[in-house]
Assembly symmetry: C2
Homo-oligomer: 414 residues x 2
């Protein structure tokens, strides 16, 4: 008799972003005359750069001719793309120890963040920064590592609180953990991390033989020199850390689906029986068994991002979103709200102070107020974890015009 | 201290198709003057139909304009494609009970076949047809369901032997199993199944509340009316069976990456605690949590396959490969070898009789002989499971000219 994975019954059914989308749709359906400004979702609004469109069309035409057709590609991704990534994203930034063989092309960060859990032994103690991207928690709950849920937290996880008190950089836990999810520049807070701060985590991981899953999907938004873009900027990280990257927010690939994950060959752990485990080989085996690689056309599109035109287009797009985020940040600071992010990140994390309310509002109440009163959609901070309560996430991803419109509306909020 | 998933240490490291590719490469490197005819891999050789190339370019240009740009799409796939599939692949064939909401667009059969195991409870007894696609076994071993490996078989699985004696259609097991993997038209044997034969399995699954994973990636190759193309042709299957489909072999999408999985909303099982489990909702949750959907451009390409030009191109491609498979089948029968497949499938499964050898050769010895003596690559049958020993798989996927060349060479083998 077939029995289903019980963990699917204990995870609350609704996924944060689906729930936000559902509530926005409900509002829209009952207020067809009102125009909502979407400041909630982390999706991009600028179209693909022309150099990418050309690469897509060229590769599509190649696929239509016998002589240049490409069937199954390597599960790890084509070498032409892995070499471009190694050269541009690592070697040219002084990170000479990351090579093409450490890099695996993926269909996006979400897949790899979810599937990396396949490599973990049972009973691994997971530490997640809170607030954080829900996938870190949800994927591990589905894999049976959640324990019991109470007051929005799972007993099986160690929550690394990111609050105004610690400037949204978590402190090292007082007990041992085995896997640590970190994301900088952070989603949702927009906070960023210096190399000194990251070094503490790398040192902890080396000392405790812990694995760090470093999500740097937003690295392209970093402006300051001393802010970490890659986990491998700290010596020793190549022995303890996996890095997840995506072209989604860098180059507008949210609807194209391409990213990459770095699993250095120097990443050695052990199996429960004490034998050596090469995480690079394990991931290679996982991907070879359960994945058939990213399409050729898509990988050619990603390759085009490393041309001079591609680099220029990415920079322009990011400058555009960062102008939005910066304006948003200034406007919220001007209202006297607590604000973080918007400097090295497209996200602005804010705790609104509403003079019209005597009690502090919850994140979902704030979401509702902004939607009802201003027709602005936001993402409730509590959806990213318990200590996000009272905060909301706004993004710089809408158009410049819409962002100005949102700012004008926010100014009227009392 | 991080400890890795021990199951990665017990699965033999080399994956069948990688091993075949490696040995071919070694041969090529040491015999640069010899030209190998690839009859091993299940990859297609014909380029993408022009209607698909046009759809890819059109969608790429849409992505390059603000007004028609598409960011994140639904994790389940766009409705425009799911509706086309429901209408053309199910409704128009009299299967009115499969709807767009039962269909999930994927990046290929391998991903979904691997990831569906996420939904299984612990200790599920898995039955796999043998020989079979290695992913069924390997993905379940990585998930801890393998038990111990001895003589090429895992103690945790029930092997459903497919042999000349049962015409490569397995018999119902004499003990209870919880999940059954079936693939028809079969890879690697090329055998096909009638509705009467399938009905026995559906009846078994209904009676025992078992789940059937039905891999019909090769359904487009079916010629005979009484041969099963979809598991849902048998009444009641919608209560016990998931169906996996792919555009890879149908439309040359091996390098494009798109397929779909049908998880009917009528598929109800229970959790270990006795509560109801909707597999459709569980799969939706899995995909929403660990997958971000297939790219817009790729889904537009798949949609183009349902136009009259798309249908025509697919038919021409399949006729082309089936001519190859048929010629291969006839040639091997002419040699007096045991042969199955090549009639409703692009695969030809054969047990060569070599007069030059007194002892029966193993699959890998046959592989070696064909490579060394004829420069023909094959896939060793034992790689698909123990009872594939002594057999090899040849395919109709090479060009017509190369297939004729392979046939000429095979004729010389003594």
């Amino acid at each position: 008799m077939f029995k289903a994975n019980q963990n699917y019954s204990i995870l609350p059914e609704s996924y944060l972003f689906s729930e936000v989308a559902k509530r926005i749709k409900e509002y829209r359906d009952s207020h067809p005359d009102k125009e909502i400004v979407r400041m909630d979702i982390g999706d991009v609004s600028l179209p693909l750069p022309q150099v990418v469109v050309e690469a897509l069309c060229n590769a599509s035409r190649e696929m239509g001719e016998s002589a240049t057709f490409h069937g199954y590609g390597p599960e790890q991704g084509y070498l032409f793309l892995r070499e471009k990534i190694a050269e541009n994203d690592y070697h040219n930034r002084g990170l000479l120890h990351i090579d093409a063989d450490d890099i695996f092309i993926s269909d996006g960060a979400k897949s790899d963040l979810g599937n990396l859990g396949d490599l973990f032994g049972p009973d691994m103690r997971i530490a997640v920064a809170e607030p954080g991207y829900p996938v870190y928690v949800d994927a591990n709950v589905l894999a049976g590592r959640g324990g019991r849920l109470a007051d929005g937290r799972w007993s099986g996880f160690t929550y690394l609180e990111c609050t105004p008190e610690n400037k949204f950089i978590p402190v090292i836990p007082d007990h041992k953990v085995d896997v640590i999810y970190l994301c900088y520049p952070n989603n949702p807070t927009g906070a960023s991390m210096t190399r000194e701060e990251l070094k503490k985590w790398i040192d902890y991981a080396i000392e405790n033989k812990a694995l760090i899953i470093f999500d740097s999907a937003y690295e392209a938004y970093v402006r300051d020199e001393n802010i970490v873009r890659s986990v491998y900027e700290v010596d020793g990280a190549e022995k303890v850390a996996v890095e997840i990257r995506s072209f989604s927010k860098t180059a507008g690939f949210t609807g194209v689906r391409c990213g990459y994950t770095v699993v250095p060959r120097s990443l050695d752990f052990t199996f429960p029986d004490g034998h050596r485990a090469s995480l690079n080989k394990m991931w290679n085996r996982r991907q070879s068994t359960k994945f058939n690689g990213v399409g050729y056309i898509i990988q050619k599109a990603a390759e085009a991002l490393y041309t001079p035109e591609g680099r220029k287009a990415i920079k322009e797009n990011i400058d555009y979103y960062m102008r939005n985020a910066g304006l948003l940040r200034e406007a919220l600071l001007g209202k006297g709200w607590e604000v973080v992010g918007g400097e090295n990140s497209p996200y602005v994390w804010t705790a609104p102070k509403l003079h019209s309310s005597t009690a502090a509002l919850t994140s979902w109440e704030l979401f509702r107020r902004l939607l009802d009163d201003l027709q602005i959609s936001s993402t409730p901070g509590s959806g990213f974890g318990a200590c996000g309560e009272g905060w909301i996430r706004l993004t710089g991803f809408n158009s410049y015009e819409k962002t100005l419109q949102a700012i004008d509306r926010l100014k009227t909020l009392k």
